[in-house]
C-alpha cells in the first residue's frame, strides 16, 4: 500500500515538474525542475515499463544459468555483482555523444530537447539497450553482427556489419572534429591535451615494468600530473616562446590528429591506449558525478527560452526542422544505436543472473540519458546570446566580438561585444566566437557551475580547461580504440572476400586495414575542418542519421526475435520505437538528398554550386574555383553516404519483415537460444 502511494506521488511529481518546465513563460525556470522531472520519470519508467518488459516480454528466468555461469572462465565470462557490472556497462556506453547532441539541440530552446531525451529514452533508447542485452545474453554473449546473422540470415548480418563500420567512420570523424574545434588557436587547451601523451606513456611504462598491475596508484599519479598540466598550461600559453608552439590552425590540428590516430592504433596497447583509457574513464565518471552535484548545489536558472524561433528551422547551429532533425541531433542521450554493440559486447558475458538485466540494460541507459539532461541544462543556463555566438559558424557571424555581437543580436538574442570578450577572458581563451562542436559551450557551462561551487570566478579558467581536457581525453581514447575496432571490423569484412585478411595477428593486413580506417575518417575530418560552415553542420546530422539507423536495425532484430519466440503479442514494445526511428532516419536521409533547400540537402547545395561554377562565379564561403569544386565533391560524397545509410536501413527493414512473416507462419518458436551444457 505504501509502495503504491509512493509511486503515485512520483507520478504526480513528474507531471508537476513537466508542467512547470513546459508552461512557464517569461519567468526563468530553475534547472532543478528538469532534474526532478527526469529522475521521477526514470523511476516510473524503470519500475513499470522495464519490469513489464522483463516479466511479460522477455520472461526473464532467474533459474536459467547465464553464459557467465555456464561458461565461467574467470576472464571473459565472470558472474559479476550487479552494481559492479552497472558501473562497467555505464562506463562503456557513456561518451561524448550525450554531451554534444543536447548542446546542439538547445538552439531550438530547452523544451523540445528535454521532452525527447526523457520520453525517447523510456520508450526507445533504454528498450533497445535492454533488448539487445537480453538477446545477446541468451546467445552466449554474441555480437550484434552475429545475432543478426543467426536470426535473420547471412546477408542481413553482412549488411549490419557494414553499416556498423560506416557508423564507426563517421563517429570517429565527428569526434575528432569536436577536438579540432575545441583546441584550435587555444595553446592552453592544446598543451594540456598534448601533455596527456607523455603522462600516459609514463603510466604505461610504470604499469608494465615498475609496478605491474597497480592501476590505482598510477592513476592517482597520472591525475595529479594532469592537474599540474592544466595549472601550468596558462604559463605555457602566455609565454612568448612556448605559446606559439602550441597554437595550431584547424587544418594543422587535423593532420596532427590523423597522424596521431594512425600511430596510436598500431602501438602496443599497454604503452599509450590502455593507460590513457584508465585516466579518461575515471575522469569521465568523476566529472559526470561532479556535474550532477554541481547542478544540484548551484540550482541555476535556465536562460535559454523554452522554445526559440529556430524551432521552425533555419537555425545557425544546424539546419533543418524540428522533425526529423531534432531527433537526429540529440542522438545518444535518447537513443543510441552504438549501444547495441556494447550491449552485445562484454556486458552480457558478465551477467550473474537474468534478473539483473533490467537494472543494467534499461537502468544503464537511463543514466546515460541523465548525462544528456545535464548537458542540455548546461547549454541552457548560459546567456542565449553567448550560446549562439559560440555555436554559429564564423561564415555567419564573423570572428570579432563586434561582428558576432551584432549578428547574434540581429538573430533576436541581444548580447554585447564587451560581454563576449569578458567571457573569453574569464575562461582564459583568446576568443569564444564560433567555437562550434558543443564541447567548448559545455566547458563554459561546466566552468560556470564548478566555479560557483569551488573557487569562484578566479577558478573559471582552470575549470574551463579541466572540462576541455575531460572531453578531449575521452574523445582521443575513443578515436584510438575506435580505429582499432574499425580495423578489426574491416578485416572481418574484407575477410569475407579474401579469407587470409582475417588473420588478426599477421602484420600486413593489420597495417592495411588500419591505414584504410584512418584514411576513411581522416577524409571526413578534413572535409569538416575545411568546411567554411564549421563542419559540425554537415557531419553531426550524418552521424545522427547513422547512429539512429543502427538503433533501428537493433530494434528490427529484436522484433524478429520476439516473433520467432512466438511472443508477437508483445512485439509492439520494439515495433513502436523501431517504426519511429525508421520514419525519422528515412525522412532525414531523404531530405538530405531530395530537399530543395541548399541548407538542408547536399544535392541541392551541390547543384547550386555547380550552376555557379559553370558561370565562373565563386560563391561564398569558397574563395576560388578550386574550393568551389571541392565543396561540390564533398556534397556528392555526403549525399552518397546518405543514400548508402538509407539502403542499409531499408534493406534491414525488408529482411526483418520477411523473417517476421516466415516466423509467424511456423506454429512453434524458431528463435535460436543457446542454453547448452556448461562448458568443460
Amino acid at each position: 500500500m505504501l509502495g503504491k502511494i509512493g509511486w503515485a506521488l512520483a507520478a504526480i511529481i513528474a507531471a508537476a515538474a513537466l508542467a512547470v518546465i513546459a508552461t512557464q513563460r517569461g519567468e526563468p525556470v530553475n534547472a532543478l525542475w528538469i532534474v526532478v522531472a527526469a529522475v521521477s520519470l526514470y523511476l516510473i519508467g524503470y519500475r513499470f515499463y522495464a519490469l513489464y518488459i522483463a516479466k511479460h516480454v522477455m520472461r526473464l528466468d532467474p533459474a536459467l544459468p547465464t553464459p557467465a555461469v555456464r561458461r565461467a572462465d574467470g576472464l571473459d565470462y565472470v558472474p559479476t555483482n550487479r552494481y559492479v557490472l552497472f558501473g562497467h556497462h555505464f562506463a562503456a556506453i557513456a561518451g561524448a555523444g550525450p554531451l554534444v547532441g543536447p548542446v546542439l539541440a538547445a538552439q531550438m530552446g530547452y523544451l523540445p530537447g528535454t521532452l525527447w531525451i526523457l520520453f525517447g529514452v523510456v520508450l526507445a533508447g533504454a528498450v533497445q539497450d535492454f533488448m539487445v542485452l537480453f538477446l545477446s545474453m541468451r546467445r552466449d554473449g554474441k555480437s550484434l553482427g552475429e545475432l543478426v546473422r543467426m536470426e535473420m540470415g547471412a546477408v542481413a548480418g553482412t549488411i549490419a556489419l557494414f553499416g556498423a563500420f560506416m557508423i564507426m567512420v563517421i563517429i570517429l570523424a565527428v569526434l575528432a572534429l569536436i577536438v579540432v574545434r575545441a583546441l584550435a588557436d587555444s595553446p592552453w587547451g592544446m598543451f594540456t591535451v598534448a601533455a596527456t601523451i607523455p603522462i600516459a606513456i609514463f603510466m604505461g611504462l610504470y604499469l608494465r615494468y615498475i609496478r605491474p598491475g597497480r592501476v590505482a596508484e598510477i592513476s592517482i599519479i597520472g591525475f595529479v600530473l594532469l592537474m599540474l598540466a592544466i595549472v601550468f598550461g596558462r604559463n605555457i600559453a602566455e609565454s612568448p616562446v612556448f605559446g606559439p608552439m602550441f597554437t595550431f590552425t584547424p587544418v594543422q590540428l587535423c593532420w596532427l590528429l590523423i597522424g596521431y590516430g594512425g600511430i596510436a592504433a598500431i602501438l602496443p596497447v599497454w604503452l599509450l591506449l590502455a593507460p590513457r583509457d584508465y585516466l579518461s574513464t575515471f575522469l569521465k565518471i568523476g566529472a559526470i558525478v561532479a556535474l550532477a552535484i554541481g547542478i544540484v548545489v548551484m540550482a541555476p536558472q535556465l536562460q535559454m527560452p523554452a522554445l526559440t524561433k529556430f524551432a521552425d528551422g533555419g537555425g545557425p547551429v544546424w539546419s533543418g526542422n524540428l522533425f526529423p532533425f531534432l531527433f537526429i541531433t540529440i542522438a545518444c542521450g535518447a537513443v543510441s544505436g552504438f549501444h547495441a554493440l556494447i550491449s552485445s559486447g562484454t556486458t552480457p558475458k558478465l551477467i550473474a543472473n537474468e534478473r539483473d538485466v533490467p537494472f543494467i540494460g534499461y537502468g544503464g541507459m537511463l543514466m546515460e540519458s541523465f548525462v544528456a539532461i545535464m548537458a542540455l541544462v548546461g547549454a541552457s543556463i548560459l546567456d542565449p546570446g553567448l550560446y549562439f555566438a559560440m555555436n554559429s559558424p564564423s561564415a555567419l557571424i564573423g570572428t570579432t566580438p563586434e561582428s558576432a555581437a551584432a549578428a547574434v543580436t540581429a538573430m533576436g538574442f541581444p548580447v554585447t561585444p564587451e560581454y563576449l570578450a569578458q567571457v573569453a577572458k574569464d575562461v582564459g581563451e583568446a576568443s569564444v566566437i564560433s567555437r562550434t562542436g558543443g564541447a567548448p559551450t559545455l566547458a563554459v557551462a561546466m566552468a560556470e557551475i564548478f566555479s560557483h561551487v569551488i573557487g569562484g570566478s578566479a577558478m573559471k579558467a582552470f575549470w574551463y580547461h579541466f572540462a576541455i581536457l575531460f572531453e578531449a581525453l575521452f574523445i582521443l581514447t575513443a578515436v584510438d580504440a575506435g580505429t582499432r575496432a574499425g580495423r578489426f571490423m574491416l578485416q572481418d569484412l574484407i575477410g569475407l572476400v579474401s579469407p587470409q585478411f582475417r588473420n588478426a595477428s599477421s602484420l600486413v593486413p593489420g597495417f592495411i586495414a588500419t591505414a584504410l580506417c584512418v584514411s576513411a575518417w581522416g577524409y571526413f575530418l578534413y572535409q569538416g575542418v575545411t568546411d567554411p560552415l564549421g563542419g559540425v553542420n554537415t557531419l553531426w546530422p550524418l552521424f545522427g542519421i547513422a547512429n539512429q539507423m543502427l538503433a533501428a536495425v537493433a530494434l528490427v532484430l529484436a522484433t524478429v526475435v520476439l516473433f520467432r519466440m512466438k511472443r508477437h503479442r508483445f512485439a509492439w514494445v520494439t515495433i513502436l520505437p523501431a517504426t519511429w526511428l525508421v520514419i525519422c532516419t528515412v525522412t532525414a536521409g531523404l531530405q538530405k538528398v531530395l530537399s530543395s533547400d541548399p541548407a538542408v540537402s547536399f544535392v541541392a547545395h551541390a547543384r547550386k554550386f555547380s550552376a555557379a561554377l559553370e558561370q565562373g562565379q565563386v560563391l561564398a564561403p569558397a574563395k576560388n574555383l578550386a574550393e568551389m569544386q571541392r565543396i561540390i565533391t564533398n556534397d556528392w560524397i555526403d549525399a552518397g553516404l546518405c543514400i548508402l545509410f538509407l539502403g542499409v536501413v531499408i534493406s534491414m527493414v525488408i529482411f526483418g519483415i520477411r523473417s517476421i512473416i516466415s516466423a509467424y507462419r511456423i506454429p512453434e518458436p524458431t528463435a535460436i537460444e543457446i542454453r547448452g551444457v556448461p562448458a568443460e
Partner: protein
C-alpha cells in the same frame, strides 16, 4: 524452468542472492559472510563498500577480479597452474583492445 516469478520482489528473492554492493557473487560466499568474520559493524560495511568501489573501478577499465579468477581456477581446474597476477593483468589488457572492443561515441 522454474515457476514464473509473480513480481519483481519474487524475482529478486527466487535465487536467494541479495546482490549487495561489494559482494562479488561468485566468490566463496563465506569469505564475505559477516558471520564468518564475526564482525557485522559499520567497519565491515565500510570495508565491503570500498572493496566494491575498487572492483567496480577495475572492471570499468576491463580488469575483472583476480581473486575470483584464482577461485575459479582452484575450483574448476585444480590441475592447471593459474596465471600470475601480472600475467592476468596483461592478458586482460590485451583482451580489452582486441577485436570487438567497441567503445561508445
Amino acid at each position: 524452468m522454474t515457476q514464473q516469478p509473480k513480481s519483481l520482489k519474487d524475482m529478486w528473492q527466487q535465487a536467494g542472492d541479495p546482490g549487495l554492493p561489494g559482494r562479488p557473487v561468485t566468490l566463496d560466499q563465506t569469505a564475505h559472510d559477516p558471520r564468518t568474520h564475526g564482525n557485522q559493524g559499520p567497519k565491515y560495511a565500510l570495508r565491503r563498500f570500498f572493496s566494491g568501489v575498487r572492483e567496480t573501478a577495475n572492471l570499468m577499465i576491463g580488469i575483472p577480479s583476480y581473486e575470483n579468477y584464482l577461485a575459479h581456477m582452484a575450483n574448476r581446474h585444480p590441475d592447471i597452474a593459474p596465471m600470475s597476477e601480472i600475467e592476468f593483468f596483461r592478458n586482460r589488457q590485451e583482451a580489452r583492445y582486441g577485436a570487438g572492443g567497441a567503445r561508445c561515441c
